[in-house]
């Protein structure tokens, strides 16, 4: 991996992933009932330049085959390592909330093709931030501890099951503690944002119309402006034969669509030499605040318009309850390459978005589908 001379090193990663969804009524992560290669295939290049023994500059460029995903500079930061225990990174960084969040594009780094989307697919977890990250490592006898803290801000467009939002997140911060003992790792992380503002097409117009018409409660319900706290707990065990992995996330927010999320997964896997087989169960729960459309119908045509307006917006707000069982096979056929195959049985709920993007006239879709994927992962 990586070519190098005295001060600059180049490395990279690539993945080619194909997927097929067995329903003609919806999309899932962009997949439909047609074999497609473009949704997750990508290539990334990284350059690390050692300015001095203690200071280095790193950049990561990502090229995505799918136009829905952004290509561009994912990372660009200065790293200051005054000694092996401490590391300070400043610049554009990947947000490190879940175990594999900051290597989400490096499929080679994790066992699945798609890390459980009930957690890793959450639009709450903004993929990158502009800010700083401080890391400290120490050990107490055989227990090795890694502590990180980060602070920054994020501003970009995100896509939630087809609905586009512009997000501004200021004062975004959190911490991570990883406690390692032999093959075990216990991980706790927090992700807090004091102020998130999200703008979506039509929502501002609707909320100001609701306000003017005297429906302040309803206007409030649909305003995406507030604070969020997420706490994550993870447990991993790795050995020559077995791998166990579980993560749990709990989100509390003053923003209706982010409130009451409690998602988790657990994975059990077995190694057979260069082969690995895994079973993953994942579940997304969201306890939604009750929504009641209090606008009277048939009194005034303008009120009627408002009534149907908020019904429409409400139906587009994502309600991502979904459970899934995923079977994964991985074959490390060369030291830097792996072949993977994955089948996910997706079990959503009628009337919820369940992470699907419905096609036109698919209201009767039962939110159940099977996703087949296979791919090759490469690091160089």
């Amino acid at each position: 991996m990586a070519s190098e001379d005295s001060s600059i090193e180049f490395s990279g990663f690539a993945r080619v992933v194909a997927g097929y969804l067995d329903t003609d009524q919806a999309y899932f992560e962009g997949y439909e009932d047609e074999l497609t290669f473009t949704e997750k295939s990508l290539v990334g290049f990284q350059a690390d330049y050692a300015v001095t023994d203690e200071i280095s500059l790193s950049g990561q460029l990502l090229l995505h085959s799918d136009s829905q995903h952004q290509s561009g500079l994912e990372w660009l930061y200065l790293s200051y390592d005054p000694n092996p225990d401490w590391q300070l990174k400043v610049g554009r960084l990947r947000t490190p909330y879940l175990k594999y969040s900051d290597v989400f594009d490096v499929g080679y780094a994790y066992p699945w093709i798609s890390p459980p989307r009930q957690l890793y697919g959450s639009y709450l977890f903004f993929p990158r931030y502009e800010g700083a990250n401080l890391r400290y490592r120490f050990n107490i006898d055989q227990v090795y501890i890694d502590v990180e803290a980060y602070y920054g801000e994020f501003s970009d467009d995100i896509d939630a099951n087809g609905a586009k939002f512009h997000i501004d997140a200021n004062d975004m911060y959190g911490g991570i503690v990883e406690v390692n003992y032999n093959g075990w790792q216990l991980r706790g992380a927090s992700f807090l944002v004091d102020k998130i503002r999200a703008g979506a097409e039509g929502i501002e117009t609707l909320t100001s119309a609701l306000d003017q018409a005297g429906f302040a409660d309803l206007a409030n319900f649909f305003t995406i402006n507030g604070s969020t706290e997420a706490y994550i707990f993870g447990l991993t065990y790795d050995s020559l034969d077995w791998v166990l992995s579980a993560e749990y996330v709990d989100v509390a927010s003053t923003i209706t669509i982010l409130a009451g999320i409690e998602n988790y997964y657990f994975t059990v896997g077995r190694y057979f030499g260069e082969y690995q087989f895994l079973v993953t169960y994942a579940k997304a729960n969201q306890e939604l605040t009750f929504f009641e459309n209090t606008i009277p119908l048939g009194v005034d045509p303008r009120l009627d318009q408002l009534y149907f307006g908020i019904e429409e917006v409400n139906s587009q707000f994502p309600t991502d309850e979904l459970n899934s069982v995923t079977l994964t096979g991985r074959w490390d056929f060369r030291p830097n390459m792996a072949f993977k195959a994955e089948v996910s049985f997706l079990n959503g709920y009628n009337g919820k978005s369940s992470m699907f993007e419905l096609k036109a006239d698919a209201e009767g879709f039962d939110r159940k589908a099977v996703l087949y994927q296979f791919g090759v992962e490469w690091v160089f």
């Binding site: 991996m1 990586a2 490395s11 092996p84 490096v106 790795d238 791998v243 991985r330 690091v379």
Partner: protein
Amino acid sequence: MKFLNLTLIVSSLLAASMVSPQVLAASEIVVVANLPAPVSMQKHEIRNLFMGGASSEFEPVTLKPGIHERLIFNARVVGLTESRIQSYWAQMRFSGRSKAPVQVSSVEAMKQYLLDNKGSVGYLPADSNVPDTLTVLYTSG
């Protein structure tokens, strides 16, 4: 003449298989270091050092993937499969945390690297002649 040729081929093939690394290779390794004064290291400290643990005194050196002694080291000291170790280093490198140890392509190159670099820590077959200037930190098995 043809018969003789065949015998030669068969016997040389047999001889080749007898000296293949699998047959001759030791099944244990010794972890050795180039240090000014002898120290002792426990297995978990060696594991941590080779998995990116913080150290300003020691520089870990490994053999390239696929070399027999590396497999023994992975199994006996690190306790992880080669594929998991590779995934781990991909995660560390591309998240900007730490980089994999220096890799050398043979046991001979390892011995030479250890002799040439103060503070370096590597591993050799348990039955090899460890040069006097290197310190044995740990013996597997």
